[in-house]
């Protein structure tokens, strides 16, 4: 066992918080046992082939303590309704849930488990993350997170912001395991925006589970701007009933190593599933997107599109897997991974995979890896732009396609974060 595993085992050995219902104690025990068996994945695991957690292995992770520490520099709290978690626990002083329609339950998952265990229990499993070490850890160690429950027909117009702050003290790495549960009744609608940021050296391993009722619609936006010393593992599990629409839009910018794993089961007919991703990596950052879409019923549609911009000696990894089960006829699935390499040292590994067991389907995948187009650069320079600005403009254009798809209230904030990460992005700020 490495240091991280030892420290996690120590955390798992601590007694669970008192007063939790029996089902939760059982869930935590099973999670601890499974992690003891699985330990952290290595590159010998096919699904982690290109993403090494060796850097994480050296960290001794202390359980994250609740704290009201200062916000990281440059981070402003989003408008209400917002839920703020510090080190995996809700910070009531910064949380503000004003502006929600009647009937919508939005609040703490821990409180929901305490108050209505019967309603939460059936949905709190690991879902599509059966033998996943980080899901096992989440079961065993999660403290709190967002609980969203929308009865049939309830629509929340304003985006619900969830801020995940992980604040590690000097010299002590911490681990935080926030857990969110999103339940949408028939024809309910919501937009949830997760902001991930922090300071110091830490592991932020979140698990968000969404269950979409018939004809409901959920848009989940993840803005990952973790501290440079952070390891980020974000698991998103989705199950969809007929006619529902799930949209995930991930913007990954920070962390030393970040992996977003989205697994969706399209369990009803005529469901739609969209997963977009944009990542900007430089230095020695590693950004990994893993998307698994399980078409279990006919007439499903899925679209995966991940774009990466890599500079320095950064690494980008894309794994997309579309499974079309027998009988899931008329499935329409596509996967695209597009990558822009800005330096000699940057590398990309991509695996767009199709597993098809039905015969009347339309499935396609594509992957591209390339550099900025010299002709386009020449054109811009012939119009009087210097080389650096021309490059910055073209790089931004590559990213903009994804940024423009974000819901209007968060678009501008993300645009600023993205341009700040791009090489010579300052030039774009001046121009804007």
């Amino acid at each position: 066992m490495n240091r991280a595993e030892e420290s996690l085992q120590a955390a798992l050995a601590r007694p669970a918080p008192a007063g939790e219902p029996g089902f939760l104690a059982a869930l935590r025990r099973a999670g601890a046992d499974d992690f003891g068996r699985l330990l952290l994945p290595t590159t010998r695991h096919e699904e982690w082939r290109y993403t090494s957690l060796a850097g994480l292995a050296d960290l001794a992770l202390a359980p994250a303590e609740p704290g009201a520490a200062a916000l990281p520099a440059g981070f402003a709290l989003p408008p209400a309704p917002r839920l703020v978690l510090v080190n995996g626990r809700i910070d009531p002083s910064r949380t503000d849930l004003a502006g929600l329609p009647p009937g919508a339950r939005v609040g703490s998952l821990a409180a929901a488990i305490r108050e209505r265990p019967g309603a939460v229990e059936p949905l709190l499993g690991r879902g599509p993350f059966g033998d996943h070490a980080f899901a096992a850890l989440s079961d065993a160690l999660f403290a709190d997170g967002l609980h969203l429950e929308l009865p049939a027909g309830v629509a929340v117009e304003a985006p619900i912001h969830v801020v995940h702050l992980t604040l590690a003290g000097a010299g002590q790495a911490v681990g935080a395991f926030p857990r969110s549960l999103l339940l949408l009744g028939e024809a309910a609608r919501a937009v949830v925006v997760e902001h991930w940021t922090g300071s110091g050296s830490y592991l932020a391993a979140g698990l968000t589970q969404a269950s979409l009722g018939e004809r409901s619609a959920l848009e989940l936006v993840r803005v990952q701007d973790e501290a440079p010393g952070a390891f980020h593992v974000g698991l998103v599990g989705v199950s969809q009933l007929g006619g529902s629409r799930f949209t995930s839009r991930s913007v990954a910018l920070g962390a030393r190593l970040a992996r977003v794993e989205t697994r969706a089961v399209l369990a009803g007919e005529e469901t739609e599933n969209h997963v977009d991703g944009l990542y900007v990596a430089s230095g020695s950052q590693v950004h990994d997107h893993f998307i698994h879409v399980d078409h279990a019923r006919p007439h499903g549609l899925s679209r995966e599109w991940v774009k990466g911009i890599l500079d320095g000696s950064a690494r980008g990894v894309f794994t997309g897997r579309v499974l079309v089960r027998a009988g899931a006829q008329k499935t329409d699935a596509s996967q695209v991974s597009s990558n822009l390499l800005l330096s000699e040292e940057a590398t990309v590994d991509t695996r767009p995979q199709l597993e098809i067991l039905a015969d009347d389907v339309k499935c396609s995948h594509g992957g591209t890896v390339g550099q900025l187009d010299e002709d386009a650069l020449f054109y811009l320079r012939s119009r009087g732009l210097d080389r650096a600005t021309a490059r910055a403009l073209l790089t931004w254009a590559f990213a903009a396609e994804m940024v423009e798809r974000l819901p209007a209230p968060v678009r501008e904030g993300v645009r600023r974060l993205v341009t700040a990460r791009l090489p010579d992005g300052a030039r774009l700020q001046e121009a804007a």
Binding site: A326, V348, D349, T350, L357, D359, C363, Q371
Partner: protein, 478 residues
């Protein structure tokens, strides 16, 4: 189409399912150091080869059978396999007429032009029966040009320096589980050496046949094309019908020295098992080529047989400006499973590779394309184009695509495209209203789908491959 016609056609008998009654000289089943020493002794091998085998065996003992492929089968008992089976009597053969008449009959049934007087096509054949090479045709004519072509064991006797230099240079003894097993126990195979600047005057060909019961066939093929030479090589395979699964774990190594060109074509038609998935060959093969500066290697394969196919003919594009190609048609009908594809490892500058893979699934067949394109750090200006198309016939089968793309050089251009479709009703309807029968229409559409690959095959093989595709598929559309 009516259910009866469908049943009739899918129950079509495997044409090559006959057993030849030839007395065989067999080793007892099982694998241990003694068996390996026995094989080596029987073949009168030099010490270096025995050492190499034993090293491979020791390494194999430490390895685990791979489980990542998209195939399912019951565990193989490696101790129940006969690792050496030679048709007896085995004496030194002076001419082709001395070959055992039973054997010759077997090859005639297969349509292999073993006897020179019956030959029409200009193909030199090395026939491998169970584990041992029995005859090579056209040897003298090849020798004129300095081309060495014949069985591996002969090459070990007459050209040990070439064997020692090139054996394991592309697929090392411990490369993977099945390659290590093959390195330890391989009994024969073909060897070809094309000298500098020579264009091989005819196509070289090997025919493999598994005959005896419970034997594994572990042949090893090594082809070395010296600088500026050119060779085209054909490989065909059949096996009799057996209820038991038989293991075939071959290794093929191609060495293309600077400026050389190797074209390697395979029509694999091992016994696929019956409609319920009983019997059939487990075809677990390692094929790899190394291409030096300006060399070109082209793999073309038509995979219609075997219960399970596990094979990834690969190219290591070592030298600058080298070229790798992979054209494949893989068909999985009934309970067949195929997990096949290629690896293109770009090491040298301006290396280029093309991958065209056509998978056809019918019945309960499962067909997976698994491929790797790796652009190394120094492969400036490398280029890859991959296309993987799948055709589904019926709703019980599966088509899967698992491409891996690794890019470590920003100047590389890598493209990957894949589509999955089924035979469209309107295409069928169009053919039908022009008077074609359902079967002919399906066969025509499938051949059209596979055309891009079939046209890469040498003529003699292209015709056979087309017939095979039609035969294996007719009637699988309901």
């Amino acid at each position: 189409m009516s259910q009866d016609a469908l049943r009739e056609l899918t129950e079509q008998k495997y044409k090559y399912g006959f057993v030849t009654d030839v007395e065989a000289d067999q080793a007892p089943p099982g694998l241990n150091e003694e068996i390996i020493r026995l094989i080596s002794r029987k073949k009168g091998e030099p010490q270096f080869l025995l050492d190499w085998r034993l090293k491979a065996y020791k390494h194999w003992l430490t390895m685990e059978e791979p489980r990542w492929a998209y195939v399912h089968y019951r565990p193989i008992d490696y101790q129940s396999i006969v690792y050496y089976s030679a048709p007896r009597p085995k004496k030194q053969l002076g001419s082709i007429d001395e070959v055992d008449p039973e054997l010759r009959k077997a090859f005639e049934k297969l349509g292999i032009p073993l006897a020179e007087q019956q030959r029409i096509s200009n193909v030199a054949v090395d026939a491998v029966f169970d584990s041992v090479s029995v005859a090579t045709t056209y040897k003298a004519k090849l020798a004129e040009k300095g081309v060495i072509f014949g069985s591996f064991s002969e090459a070990v006797q007459h050209h040990p320096e070439l064997i020692e230099r090139f054996l394991g240079s592309v697929v090392p003894a411990g490369d993977n589980f099945f390659a290590a097993l093959n390195s330890a126990v391989f009994s024969d195979g073909s060897f070809a050496y094309i000298p500098k600047g020579v264009r091989c005057p005819m196509e070289l060909s090997t025919y493999f046949r598994i005959n005896a019961e419970n034997t594994g066939q572990f042949e090893r093929t090594l082809i070395v094309a010296d600088e500026g030479s050119h060779v085209s090589y054909l490989e065909g395979c059949t096996a009799p019908m057996r209820d038991e699964n038989q293991l075939h774990a071959a290794v093929v190594e191609l060495v293309a020295l600077p400026g050389a060109e190797i074209k390697y074509s395979t029509v694999q038609n091992w016994y696929p098992g019956d409609a319920e998935g009983r019997g059939g060959i487990f075809n677990f093969v390692t094929k790899r080529a190394k291409a030096m500066e300006r060399a070109k290697v082209s793999w073309t394969q038509v995979e219609t047989g075997s219960a399970i196919t596990w094979k990834y003919p690969s190219c290591i594009l070592q030298g600058d400006d080298s070229v790798g190609e992979f054209y494949s048609v893989a068909l999985a009908n009934n309970r067949q499973q195929a997990d096949t594809g290629t690896k293109m490892i770009h090491v040298g500058k301006r290396t280029r590779s093309t991958i065209v893979s056509k998978g056809i699934s019918a019945g309960h067949g499962q067909n997976a394309y698994r491929g790797l394109v790796r652009i190394g750090k120094n492969a400036t200006g490398a280029r890859n184009y991959s296309q993987c198309d799948s055709l589904l016939i019926g709703d019980q089968c599966g088509a899967h695509t698992f491409p891996y793309i690794e890019v470590k050089n920003p100047t590389a251009k890598v493209e990957h495209e894949a589509t999955t479709s089924r035979i469209a009703e309107d295409q069928l309807f169009y053919c039908r209203q022009r008077g074609l029968s359902q079967e002919d229409a399906v066969s025509m559409i499938v051949n059209g789908f596979a055309r891009q690959v079939l046209k890469e095959l040498p003529m003699e093989f292209a015709v056979e491959a087309q017939k095979l595709l039609g035969m294996s598929l007719e009637g699988s559309v309901g």
